[in-house]
């Protein structure tokens, strides 16, 4: 036996090391220079084009501008002119690029290999002729009703094409499935006001916002729009700030922005709303409206409902008084997660409260209604599943929705698919439904498509392709038209358009007549394309109380289960993954959940009391069982949930859906019955109770924030409204004394520089949605590292949103939130402050003097610069940074094709061994300077902004020049609420925070 000598071993090691080194080397530089054959007129290499389109990541329908470099979309931003989102976009919208460039996209039409789980690519021609053949047979047998089409509920031209195509083929079976529909609200409005619509809630005009659970800052109806309106109401300004009361069993992201949290029982919202309305009526505060409301709410005295709603009667009375006395108020209905078996009644109760307080027509306005197709009732879905099982569905077309993943397992949709002869999926990705299909005809992603969308009455958004299709995909509109042509006869005759683009243009003739009567269509079309659509103001439609409301049954809804299943299950839409359709975007998987800060996983939230009872801690796996199913998930111990409720986010638990979603977390729909809100037929998400048991196993639940307590270091500060008023007065006096006072020392930037770049972040505006984090990923080529490396603290996000549970200081009303059921444990939750933390670009930066190679230094414009090519990776700077703002590239991270096409060419892609951090989007500063330089002037205020500030739905972040005393940022930096994080270290940050303002609880 020959032993390896140490010396030989070292030699081998050396050789291996050398070859590994080679592999790790920089990629080959491009050696070819490829010009265009024919250069498109609008493209100048090196200069981006912007195309207007619409975001289709959720039904809200925000308008977007897509930045395209040399034919590749590289960034999506909100369309500033669009009435829905006014230039802002959420994290999911920012990540739509990773839908376009997802490496797990279906690259061509696929056909299942008979009897296997495998798919084989086929040609479009073959796929369409198979379909046309089947359709022809069905029609000749006189059974076109064997064809079913299931789609999402977006309104627009494609929706109308679906309808008329199904009509022409002869099938009445079009089913609309929208995971998070708002049918209870629509139905309640029909019963209460005789208008089956979804109104606009003017949160911006309300000084008191009372939400009975709607997650309007995360997933409900139109979150970007509502975040903007909410911040307009809540931001401290001119001595006042709105007050927000959140009612519900769980402190959601939306709830975390509340001044007061009333932890009502899981089904307590309806009773609370009724009792509040009753107080208003009984005390004669509802004026003439009282008479009509009185008989409806008479039985619901605060004392009577208190026990069932699990709220003190005094709290109900106090809130009712506040609601009546506020100069303007609005009550928002229970949200998606609060949809129980009697959700329509709960929505009607909130309607009555709004009506009694005189809000209908003022802050609740019908007229500018949300446009959404009516979603199918659960009963209709059940009927369809039965028909499928009985062989009555020969062909099922699925577009824009993934029913296998987004319907309760108890519905049995997945199983019933096996009885369908031909399941056709139009999905761009291998989702749970597509994986069970026989034929997959991948649609373009929205960024490659022609299309339109009607989010609200009076708003028509137009979508145009921002790039050539990346793969061999085909727009579903084109497929339908081509199938019609293949069918021939009357069907072909009904669809006389060469392609969907022509169909869309034709449909817009009518839009042109409506929005620009008498104008030339070509001109209208071009204007609409470049503006991103057309919109007009819509007036308020007056409504009155509908007598039908007397028939509403305000019985308390039931939850499945008994004493053996003591916890109500709150299955809530994930603020970042929605219903799971965004789970294949790695940016969103790595984006910390705004509440728990957990990445890449699912969890079950439980109150500390419950955790103690079970003997589990955060990360311990808990077996959850309901009468309908069971699953296992790691516990997350959370003060912000009632001890009688547990919560699991919806969105994870995919078995398919690409490398990033597959096998990750759990889907709480496995626990739910196929239950419906009795009146509207919508899925009842809150319909069962569960039992919990510790399994003895434990996993690392990776959270990017170690503690939600700043340990008295004043990282995040909250002050009361009176204190904020006083501070503002003081600041004003100071300004009068020395109006030109600069907010920074001369040394922070070069004395001769016209600029010191800085940022102001208003914590009274920030809602914690984390859109900024994703925008930063997109703009700055930040790699995604995965769960394991996040667990080691190696996440790469330059911007993180921290949440701190703070006491309100300086004469505030003390602790506003709290659940202390059963008198066990200290479970108080204070005011939650969301704090976007980035490199502070310190004037006196601790990172700079410790760099041995001068890779980080202070530039004359006050930026703290990191020079990648100088950096040798000692990480001294990171050790010395008190803000934990620096990130180290521990490895070379992949951007698997075609994700690499998204990379911003104006930003260096960093390699292993390099330190990096927020640059204040220096590439944008350079571009603005360059533009200004070409005109021989300085950069103006507002001309340059960072990616995070650009997208912030709450407009909490303002970027600009601190040297200019009139710039927005320097005015904010002189505000009375201004402070610097860890100011005692004398780092002189360029980032100024404005203290959060809280009303606290009025009762304290």
């Amino acid at each position: 036996m020959s032993e390896i000598k140490r010396r030989d071993f070292l030699k081998v090691l050396g050789l291996t090391g050398a070859s590994t080194g080679l592999v790790g080397c920089a990629q080959e530089p491009a050696k070819k220079l490829i010009p265009y054959l024919v250069q498109p007129e609008e493209i100048i290499p090196g200069i981006p084009n912007w195309y207007a389109s619409a975001c289709r990541e959720c039904p809200a329908g925000c308008g977007v501008h897509v930045k395209v470099r040399e034919g590749r979309p590289i960034k999506v931003e909100g369309n500033p002119d669009h009435p829905v989102n006014a230039g802002r976009l959420c994290a999911r919208g920012q990540a739509s690029l990773q839908g376009l460039y997802n490496p797990d996209r279906i690259t061509s039409p696929l056909r299942r290999v008979e009897g296997t789980d495998e798919f084989e690519p086929i040609s479009w021609d073959e796929a369409e002729s198979v379909l046309a053949g089947m359709l022809r047979t069905m029609r000749s047998e006189g059974r076109p009703d064997w064809l079913y089409l299931i789609t999402d509920g977006a309104a627009g031209t494609l929706d109308r094409l679906f309808d008329s195509w199904m009509g022409a083929v002869g099938s009445p079976n079009r089913v609309i499935h929208e995971s998070f529909d708002v049918e209870p609200l629509r139905e309640a409005n029909r019963l209460t006001f005789g208008v089956a619509e979804i109104p606009r809630y003017d949160i911006d005009a309300a000084e008191l916002v009372v939400s009975f659970g709607a997650g309007f800052l995360e997933t409900w109806v139109s979150p970007v729009q509502y975040a903007r309106l909410f911040s307009a109401s809540q931001t401290f300004r001119d001595g006042r700030a709105g007050r927000f009361v959140h009612i519900g069993p769980r402190l959601s992201l939306t709830g975390s922005n509340a001044d007061e949290w009333v932890p009502a029982g899981p089904t307590g919202a309806m009773l609370m709303a009724l009792a509040m309305a009753r107080v208003l009526v009984a005390e004669g505060r509802a004026g003439a409206r009282g008479a009509a409301v009185r008989p409806l709410v008479e039985p619901f005295t605060p004392e009577r409902v208190a026990e069932a709603a699990r709220v003190e009667p005094e709290t109900i009375e106090r809130l009712a008084h506040e609601f009546a006395e506020a100069p303007s108020s609005v009550a928002l209905p229970p949200g998606i997660e609060g949809t129980d078996r009697n959700a329509t009644a709960a929505h009607a109760a909130v309607n009555l409260l709004n009506y009694a307080a005189g809000n209908v027509g003022r802050t609740v306005r019908f007229g500018p209604n949300v446009v959404r197709r009516r979603a199918a009732r659960v009963a209709r879905m059940q009927e369809m599943v039965e028909t499928m099982r009985g062989g009555g569905v020969q062909m099922l077309l699925v577009h824009g929705t993934d029913p296998v993943h987004t319907t309760p397992a108890a519905l049995g949709f997945a199983g019933a698919l096996a009885s369908v002869d031909m399941v056709v999926s139009f999905s761009s990705y291998m989702d749970e439904t597509a994986a069970r299909a026989h034929l997959i005809l991948p649609d373009h992603t929205p960024l490659e498509s022609w299309g339109d969308h009607e989010p609200e009455v009076g708003v028509r958004t137009l979508m145009q392709p921002t790039t050539n299709p990346i793969f061999d995909t085909k727009s579903t509109g084109d497929v339908l038209l081509s199938l019609a042509a293949r069918l021939g006869g009357d069907v072909a005759g009904a669809f006389n358009w060469p392609d969907y683009h022509a169909y869309l243009r034709d449909a817009w003739q009518a839009v042109g007549r409506e929005f620009a009567p008498g104008s030339d269509f070509e001109e209208f079309w071009h204007t609409a394309l470049s503006d991103g659509g057309v919109w007009r103001r819509v007036g308020t439609q007056p409504v009155t109380l509908n007598p039908a409301v007397a028939g509403v049954n305000f019985d308390e809804p039931t939850l499945d289960g008994d004493a053996s299943t003591p916890y109500a299950l709150f299955a809530y839409p994930s603020p970042v993954l929605y219903d799971g359709r965004s789970a294949n975007r790695p940016w969103l998987q790595e984006l910390p959940d705004p509440v728990t800060k957990v990445v890449w996983n699912s969890w079950i939230e439980m109150h500390p009391v419950v955790a103690e009872r079970l003997g589990v801690r955060t990360g311990d796996v808990v077996a959850v069982s309901s009468p309908h199913g069971q699953l296992e998930a790691p516990a997350y111990v959370y003060n912000g949930i009632r001890p009688d409720t547990v919560a699991i986010p919806i969105g994870q638990g995919h078995e398919h859906f690409g490398r990033w979603a597959r096998g990750r977390g759990v889907n709480p729909l496995a626990l739910l019955p196929a239950a419906a809100d009795e009146t509207s037929g919508a899925t009842a998400w809150l319909s069962t109770q569960v039992a919990l048991a510790a399994t003895g196993e434990s996993v690392t639940l990776v959270s990017t924030q170690g503690s939600h307590d700043d340990l008295g270091r004043e990282i995040a500060e909250v002050i009361s409204v009176p204190a904020a008023v006083e501070a503002a007065e003081h600041a004003r006096a100071e300004m009068e004394r020395e109006p030109a006072a600069l907010v920074e020392a001369a040394e922070d930037a070069d004395p001769k520089s016209p600029y010191r770049w800085g940022m102001a972040i208003d914590l009274s505006s920030c809602v914690g949605c984390s859109a900024c984090v994703t925008a930063c990923y997109a703009e700055n080529n930040i790699p995604v590292v995965g769960e394991e490396l996040c667990a080691q603290g190696r996440e790469m996000a330059w911007l993180r949103v921290e949440s701190y549970y703070e006491h309100v200081s300086e004469g505030g009303h003390g602790n506003g939130h709290g659940v202390s059921q059963e008198g066990e444990g200290d479970s108080a939750v204070q005011h939650v402050v969301h704090l976007p933390a980035i490199c502070q670009h310190c004037g006196n930066a601790p990172c700079e003097p410790v760099c041995p190679v001068y890779a980080t230094y202070h530039n004359p414009e006050g930026l703290n610069i990191q020079v990648y090519n100088r950096c040798v990776g000692t990480r001294y700077c990171s050790n010395n940074c008190p803000y934990k703002a620096r990130r180290f590239e521990w490895f070379d991270y992949d951007f698997p094709f075609p994700l690499n096409l998204q990379l911003n060419p104006d930003v260096t892609v960093r390699e292993k061994g390099v330190m990096e951090k927020c640059t204040f989007c220096v590439q944008r500063i350079m571009k603005a300077r360059n533009d200004a330089n070409a005109e021989g002037r300085d950069v103006n205020d507002g001309e340059v902004t960072t990616a995070c500030a650009q997208t912030c739905p709450a407009e909490a972040i303002v970027f600009g020049n601190l040297r200019d005393p009139n710039s927005r940022v320097s005015r904010l930096a002189r505000s009375g609420r201004a402070y610097h994080m860890l100011a005692e270290l004398n780092t002189r940050p360029a980032v100024t925070y404005l203290k959060a303002v809280s009303h606290g609880s009025e009762e304290a």
Binding site: C25, A26, Q27, P29, A30, K31, K32, L33, I34, P35, Y36, L37, V38, Q39, P40, I43, P45, G46, I47, N49, W50, Y51, E70, G71, R72, P465, T466, T467, N468, P469, H501, L529, E747, D750, P751, K752, S753, N859, P860, I865, V867, Y868, N869, R870, V872, G873, P905, D906, V907, T908, V909, E911, V914, Q923, M926, N930, D931, N933, A934, E935
Partner: protein
């Protein structure tokens, strides 16, 4: 305004494809890139012969694969002569490399532009036949890249053209070369040599000298940053010498 910032353009039936794949390479930055020995700025006279230069211990890196190096250029798919076009016929650089004054990139002429003239000019030439071949096959011409800055360098052509830096200052007397070769070393030292030259504003220069003197006397404590950095950024020097001007 020279640079249309948000130029909204209406897409016709889908915007142009991903043709420029090689143009923007997203190769990663090599943090410790091999820095070639610095070359002095070559005299404007005749270039030293490539072979001789190599033999004498090359002045900067030499890539045998593409024959990029001192006095030698790569073999291009079409024998295109800059001497012929820019020299003899005095075609403006920006005629073919259009928009170089507004974009950060110097564009490569689209094949269609070449044919614009060569449908009538010298159509019988064998090289033009190659050109027509590319057009007929619908292939772009795979030119060999001659000038390339590292991926961690953000170089802006437009800024230099607008500052009236002659193309020849960096690319050499292109109009005298049949084969294009990398005339300048493209090292950071070489860039800075020009950036560090004094600007032309007499008043600013005088002020800078005064600042320098004051700094020498009072030091950083009372003065602030070193005046050099100030001057570089605000007009006393020809170009900025702040690292972030090119590295971000």
């Amino acid at each position: 305004m020279l640079t249309p910032s948000r130029a909204f353009t209406i897409s016709l039936s889908g915007v142009a494809g991903l043709v420029l794949l090689a143009f923007v390479s997203h190769a990663r930055v090599a943090p410790r890139a091999k820095v070639a020995p610095q070359a002095g700025r070559p005299a404007r006279g005749g270039p030293v012969l490539g072979a001789a230069a190599v033999a004498q211990g090359a002045q900067f890196s030499f890539d045998p694969d593409t024959l990029v190096g001192w006095g030698r250029g790569p073999v291009q798919p079409i024998f295109f002569s800059h001497r012929h076009h820019a020299g003899e016929y005095e075609v403006e650089c920006l005629y073919c490399h259009s928009n170089t004054d507004i974009s950060s990139w110097a564009s490569m002429p689209p094949v269609e532009l070449c044919l614009g003239c060569h449908r009538v000019v010298k159509p019988a030439s064998s090289e033009i036949a190659k050109l027509r071949g590319y057009v007929e096959r619908g292939e772009p011409i795979p030119w060999e890249r001659v000038y390339r800055v590292a991926d961690f360098v953000q170089f802006n052509h437009g800024r230099h053209v607008r500052a009236e830096v002659e193309c020849q200052e960096c690319h050499g007397e292109v109009e005298e070369h049949d084969v294009l070769w990398q005339w300048s070393p493209l090292t950071m030292g070489w860039c800075l040599e020009c950036h560090r030259e004094p600007g032309e504003d007499e008043a600013k220069l005088a002020e800078a000298a005064a600042n320098e003197a004051r700094y020498a006397k009072e030091g950083r404590e009372s003065y602030g940053l070193h005046p050099r950095s100030i001057d570089s950024q605000y007009g006393v020097l020809k170009g900025p010498i702040d690292c972030v001007a090119c590295h971000y």
